[in-house]
């Protein structure tokens, strides 16, 4: 076995959960690989990692990996993760969501988690559609695109998830694509090591549903399209809005040191102890 395969197998659950539910060629597997390699490099023990996921094709990731795993309700993964982290800040909590999961039904939780700044890592796999339910339009489906519920073309405009996270106050925001596997590994590692709320948006593809409906080819063609549309954040800074129109940026979009919720809350505990000390 090649070393990378051995490494992945160290973190997979081998009893009874394979074969997995994903279509051959789906980007979810690449994201999982990147996540595992990043976790391995950070040196955290499997016991210290809690992998929380939402509902969707992406949400199924939690069942395959040998961590403490929590497969929650659609859109609510960050709320469960908030409870886990507050109850035991020692745990490294990583949350995996789909674009619909994180920004449609879970949009409110997403912006508030960003604002709150708990030390969590949020990975959002953006495949521009609702994969699990059959390829309907999501908040990141481009204008005009066809989906199972927009066969005449999508009339809504898409969210840019990473930019949304920056505006909502996330301490660290990165965007990668499944095509750029090396960068993705680096982004995942940096996000996990970041002290504060860190978001990795991963541009991925759902060739079976979204790709087919929009005549974008198979997984390989869609990944090639990612290569062509991706622009490094540093390079994008030198480009005009017109030049960037059909592109997306990859790299680190924000990295700032902000007070972490659990540290702030320690002050609250002190204040409460002092205030209540006089009472019985």
């Amino acid at each position: 076995m090649a070393d990378v395969t051995k490494l992945i197998h160290k973190y997979l659950r081998h009893e009874k959960k394979f074969p997995h539910v994903w279509c051959p060629g789906c980007g979810n597997g690449i994201v999982l690989g990147a996540l595992i390699r990043a976790i391995d490099r950070t040196g955290f023990s499997k016991d210290d990692i809690v992998l929380v996921s939402g509902i969707g094709c992406s949400g199924r990731m939690s069942v395959y990996v040998d961590f403490n795993t929590l497969h929650t309700t659609h859109g609510r993964a960050l709320t469960f993760a908030t409870g886990v982290k507050l109850a035991n800040p020692r745990l490294q909590v990583i949350v995996v969501m789909g674009d619909g999961d994180a920004t449609a039904i879970g949009g409110n939780h997403f912006i508030h988690a960003a604002r709150r700044n708990l030390n969590l890592t949020a990975v959002i796999i953006n495949n521009s559609t609702y994969g699990m339910t059959g390829g309907q339009y999501s908040p990141t489906t481009p204008y005009g695109a066809r989906s199972a519920t927009s066969m005449y073309g999508n009339v809504e405009h898409a969210f840019s998830i990473a930019e949304l996270a920056v505006t909502a106050g996330a301490a660290w925001v990165g965007r990668g694509a499944v095509y750029h596997a090396t960068l993705l590994d680096q982004l995942m590692e940096a996000a996990i090591l970041k002290r504060g709320f860190a978001v990795v948006e991963v541009i991925s593809h759902c060739h079976t549903l979204y790709g087919r409906k929009n005549l974008l080819g198979g997984a390989a063609e869609m990944m090639r399209a990612q290569k062509e549309a991706a622009v490094r954040v540093e390079k994008a800074a030198t480009m005009t809005p017109e030049e960037l129109a059909s592109k997306f940026t990859i790299g680190i979009l924000a990295d700032r040191d902000l007070p972490i919720y659990t540290q702030e809350y320690r002050k609250i505990r002190e204040a409460a102890r002092t205030a209540l000390a006089g009472e019985d």
Binding site: N68, H71, T72, R76, G83, V84, A87, R90, A272
Partner: protein, 385 residues
């Protein structure tokens, strides 16, 4: 803070909502997530003052869905957790409530009932959520719901709710109401150790041997906290004994049946009623929550007039305490079920009654409490005097 001997208990004057916080803290609750809503808000407010001093955590989430999600997460990390809300928030919680049932996560959910539907009457009393507590989340599932009618019960039954929740790994709902929540009554808080406080079952086996959802004689599998080395999977999908999703009929039925059995096997511990002058009663009032207060007074007044009246106060609403109600139905001439809804509990009494006795209802849905006088008048009419 230096350890001091606890002061001798002195009586306090507490609202129901405040007493619930005291009960939760006594039971070892150290995590609370909530969203403000009348008439439950005081629970959040007092929690935000007291929990941090005990090393616990209070957080105000962005809504009630998030609140229940957060307490489920905290409970899985090993901390006893609670949230509190009222009708509109309780409606939002239903999906995650089902998650807690399915994944067997201990947590306590307080619903201080106000009049609905919708925003309804935010500051007025109601008992309109009784059937919602039973069937609000989708799917066939068991649930435990307790009803409180006094400040003392707000304390003691909150302790009991945590005990049941931890012992049976299930969400427990406490149905309070606006009157009970805001009535101030004298209470002497028990010292630590005076009331029983129970903990969730813990695995005895090392992680290699641990099977997270394996059946046990009690029907309740042990629950390790995240981070303790057990690395198991938690999901709202139907799962096998290892916690992994399954679609095999021979794995689905045993799981769902066990969820019911772990409750039904322990009815004796879960089902509670309180009897007042029922021994020789011919006319029985069955009531719960704030209405039970009026009923108690009405029964005392009826006795003073020579009517053989009694009160059966329901403490456990779900699972409906059939075993404790049925014997009375076989004995009494008539039953009156007063409640602040259009008959959500009386339909349960009638279902159990099967023609044994006459069951009458007394309902108010105008945001006002049923008075002792109203109940007394009906008892007089029933007695034929």
């Amino acid at each position: 803070m230096p350890e001091t001997t606890p002061p001798s208990p002195r009586p306090l004057l507490l609202q129901g909502n405040e007493a619930m916080v005291e009960g939760a803290l006594y039971a070892g609750c150290r995590f609370f997530a909530g969203y403000p809503i009348t008439p439950a808000t005081e629970i959040s407010e007092v929690m935000s003052l007291k929990l941090p001093a005990l090393g616990g955590t209070f957080i105000q989430m962005e809504d009630e869905i998030a609140s229940l999600g957060a307490i489920i997460g905290a409970s899985l990390a090993g901390v006893k957790s609670m949230t509190a809300t009222s009708g509109p928030g309780f409606s939002l919680m239903q999906e995650n409530l089902g998650f807690a049932v399915m994944a067997e996560v201990p947590c306590v959910v307080v619903n201080v009932m106000r009049a609905g539907p919708s925003t309804g009457l935010p500051t007025h009393v109601s008992q309109g959520d009784v059937q919602q507590a039973r069937w609000g989340t989708h799917g066939d599932h068991p649930i435990i719901a307790l009803s409180v009618s006094t400040t003392w019960e707000c304390f003691a039954l909150t302790v009991k709710a945590f005990n049941l929740s931890e012992t049976y790994r299930t969400p427990v709902i406490i149905l309070s109401d606006e009157v009970v929540a805001h009535t101030r009554e004298k209470i002497v808080l028990p010292r630590p150790g005076e009331l029983q406080v129970l903990e969730r079952p813990r695995p005895g086996a090392p992680p290699e041997w641990f099977i997270p959802y394996e059946d046990t004689p009690r029907g309740v599998p042990p629950l390790p906290a995240f981070g303790e080395g057990y690395r198991y999977h938690v999901t709202g999908l139907v799962h096998d004994v290892r916690g992994f999703p399954t679609e095999r009929p021979d794995e689905i039925a045993p799981l769902l049946n066990r969820l019911f059995r772990k409750i039904s096997q322990h009815f004796h511990d879960i089902q509670m009623v309180e009897e007042y002058l029922t021994d020789d009663a011919e006319l029985l009032v069955i009531a719960y929550g704030s209405v039970a207060r009026s009923a108690r007074r009405a029964v005392a007044d009826a006795r003073a007039q020579g009517l053989k009246a009694g009160l059966l106060k329901l403490i456990t609403l779900w699972p409906f305490p059939r075993r404790l109600v049925e014997p009375h139905l076989g004995r009494v001439r008539a039953v009156l079920v007063p409640e602040l809804n259009r008959g959500q509990m009386s339909r349960e009494v009638k279902r159990v009654n099967q023609g044994m006795t006459k069951v009458e209802t007394l309902n108010r849905i105008d945001g006002k409490l049923i008075t002792p006088g109203e109940i007394l008048a009906r008892l007089q009419a029933l007695s034929g005097k």
